[in-house]
């Protein structure tokens, strides 16, 4: 077994199977004049894999999607689809299906004509088209909707028609461009599940673009987090969450306490770091640290509250300044000393944490699992903010 550190040093986890990738991006760049929207992105997507491009708006994910689809030529690098270099292949010859945020259904065509469009462009026989359309409409659970027009459908139904239209032509690759952005929250979660199941059923290789990290975590086999045109980290959702590659990822995925720390000493794969006067013994992280200053990441759910300081482990003493009910979880903010604020979240139904604190309570804060604490160099490029100073 490889040591954990070695795995962590790689920002991009290779796709899980060794089979020929359906999509291979080789140092793809796209520039607009002096602006580099996509910066040397390399990525392999295995057959049947669901990979998400996740990042804030302006991170280059949509530009990258357009390069893959063929609407924008990459300035450098190669887009390879099943061993074929696609750089000079026109979009309509690539056999890549796209679902857009607003679905882009053809408003002047019925649902059936929309679904049949790609098949007609491929000059399939009439009878084959008709039966394929019926099959696809059954697949997306809209069998009686063939003669409706798009505007007569709800958002979720339009979404399904858009999927049926794309899947009808059996594309090599499915691109989903923020497809749930226009749906309200409840429907969005339903559609996420439905799309995930449908895509898995068909074994469709999928690239999903979103800025919603929860959505990305929920749907993906791997999440590629993009920042300033580059893939910062590409790995399974739990890896990205538990072992973020740098401060940007730590800050972008989930919520976290990012705390200024001081390094007291380093050992073999271990670090001693002081945060708000309390020394912590934590595993050392991927990026090598220089100097004394560091940023320490602790997830709010990795902190626990108690009435008194436990004698056997490091703890901060503070005052609860905020206690919010969110339903399943209590969210606290604990003020320590003058400037430190720690966010703590505790499930309400767990036996050991059944105690609920109120604003103004004096509490002790302990780290539940020191192995899950990450330490980053304080000057990591890409850090957007250092919260909880």
């Amino acid at each position: 077994m490889k040591p954990a550190v070695a795995i962590e040093r790689r920002a991009v986890t290779p796709s899980p199977t060794s089979a020929r990738p359906d999509l291979r991006l080789v140092t793809v760049s796209r520039r607009y004049g002096p602006v580099t929207a996509v910066d040397r992105v390399s990525l392999d997507v295995a057959p049947g894999e669901f990979v998400t491009l996740l990042g804030p708006s302006g991170c280059g994910k949509t530009t990258l999607l357009k390069c893959i689809a063929g609407f924008l030529p990459p300035s450098e690098g190669q887009v390879v689809l099943r061993d074929e270099v696609m750089n000079d292949v026109l979009p309509h010859l690539r056999n890549i299906g796209i679902v857009f945020q607003h679905y882009a259904l053809f408003p002047h065509m019925t649902v059936a004509d929309n679904v049949a469009f790609g098949l007609r462009m491929r000059k399939r026989p009439r009878g084959a088209i008709a039966s394929r359309v019926q099959e696809m409409l059954r697949l997306v659970r809209l069998p009686g909707f063939a003669d409706r027009y798009p505007h007569q459908l709800s958002g979720g139904q339009q979404q399904r028609v858009a999927l049926a239209r794309v899947l009808a032509v059996e594309p090599v690759l499915l691109l989903l461009d923020e497809p749930f952005g226009a749906l309200d929250k409840k429907l969005r979660v339903e559609m996420q599940l439905e799309v995930k199941q449908l895509v898995a059923l068909l074994g469709m290789t999928t690239i999903f673009v979103t800025h919603d990290q929860e959505e990305a975590m929920r749907m993906s086999d791997r999440v590629a987090i993009m920042h300033a045109g580059r893939i910062v980290q590409c790995a399974a959702p739990e890896v990205v969450y538990d072992r973020p590659y740098d401060l940007f990822v730590a800050d972008f995925i989930g919520s976290s306490n990012l705390l200024d720390g001081r390094i007291l000493g380093t050992g073999a794969a271990r670090l001693r770091v002081e945060v708000a006067g309390v020394p912590l013994d934590v595993p050392s992280n991927a990026t090598p640290l220089t100097g004394e200053a560091a940023v320490v990441m602790v997830r709010p759910e990795n902190l626990a509250l108690s009435d008194t300081r436990p004698p056997d482990r490091p703890a901060w003493a503070g005052v609860d300044s905020l206690a919010l009910h969110t339903g399943p979880v209590m969210e606290y903010e604990v003020v320590i000393g003058e400037t430190w604020r720690l966010r703590v979240s505790r499930p309400r139904m767990q036996v050991e944490s059944a105690r609920v604190w109120a604003k103004g309570d004096r509490v002790a804060v302990t780290v539940v699992d020191l192995e899950a604490v990450r330490v980053f160099p304080s000057s990591t490029a890409g850090a957007t903010s250092v919260r909880s100073l």
């Binding site: 309509h92 857009f100 002047h108």
Partner: protein, 279 residues
């Protein structure tokens, strides 16, 4: 309770103000409409006169001037010519205008706004100036005046209508429709014919109607570029009122109004039809 009284008065005042606003709007709108339509209505009514001169109110009612119109050889040929010129010019303008609308809306290039303004210039330039300029140009390159020359000169002044309305439709069309069609295997031509064009038809029909009408009743440019043997209906009409107040002129006007209305209704019907398909 005493405090409620001024509040009620205020509310009543609000109501009155509201009513006054709508009365004012409707009065102005109706007055404007009347002002626009009344002269046309008068000439149409006058065309039904039984008398020898154009008068209002008409002296008796008859269709004699319409009958005379049909009997006048030069009126029939000029009317026919106007229809041909307007139809041909509109056809050319639709092709050019739809093509021009695309880069003007979809592309980003230096000088796009300037080009936009330039293509609109015939609408801004006095058509008298354009007529003179066109005549000088045509004689400079040594092309004799003819129906095709007249058609092309009309194209130049009516194409902005088509560009404007098509560009407006195109700007409202989701650009992702094109990308969706391309990714589904449609080449550029099929994407245009099967996806974009059907969605632009309302805009194109509206622009074509405007274009047809402004070619059909154009006088100024035609005066310069029609030439002595190529007379259009507006030129004929102008000549007829110049000589005397022949009620046949009023009858021609009535016919012109009728055709204009027919074209507008046709365009409206075409637009409505595509709306129905989309709705």
């Amino acid at each position: 309770m005493g405090q409620r009284v001024p509040e009620r008065a205020g509310r009543l005042g609000g109501r009155v103000g509201h009513a006054v606003f709508w009365v004012a709007i409707w009065t102005l709108a109706l007055a404007g409409l009347l002002y626009l339509l009344l002269p046309t209505l008068i000439i149409v009514l006058a065309s039904f006169t039984a008398g020898e001169y154009i008068t209002f109110p008409p002296r008796g009612l008859s269709l004699r001037w319409f009958a005379r119109l049909m009997a006048l050889e030069e009126v029939r040929t000029s009317a026919w010519r106007s229809l041909i010129v307007a139809t041909a010019a509109t056809a050319v303008a639709v092709v050019l205008g739809v093509a021009a609308a695309f880069p003007l809306v979809r592309s980003r290039f230096a000088g796009r706004e300037a080009l936009n303004a330039f293509l609109m210039s015939p609408l801004i330039l006095p058509s008298l100036v354009y007529g003179l300029a066109g005549l000088m140009f045509v004689s400079a390159i040594g092309v004799p005046l003819s129906v095709p020359v007249l058609v092309l000169s009309h194209v130049a002044i009516i194409v902005p209508y088509v560009i404007r309305t098509t560009a407006a439709s195109l700007a409202l069309l989701d650009p992702h429709l094109e990308e969706a069609a391309r990714s589904l295997g449609a080449n550029a031509w099929k994407t245009f014919l099967r996806v974009i064009l059907p969605n632009l038809l309302p805009g194109i029909a509206t622009g074509a109607a405007f274009a047809f009408i402004s070619s059909f009743d154009n006088l100024t440019v035609s005066l310069f570029l029609a030439g002595p043997r190529v007379e259009t209906l507006p030129i004929r009409l102008f000549a007829m009122i110049n000589f005397d107040l022949d009620p046949a002129a009023a009858a021609i006007s009535a016919v012109l109004v009728l055709i204009t209305f027919a074209v507008v209704l046709l365009a409206h019907w075409a637009v409505g039809l595509t709306r129905v398909v989309r709705l």
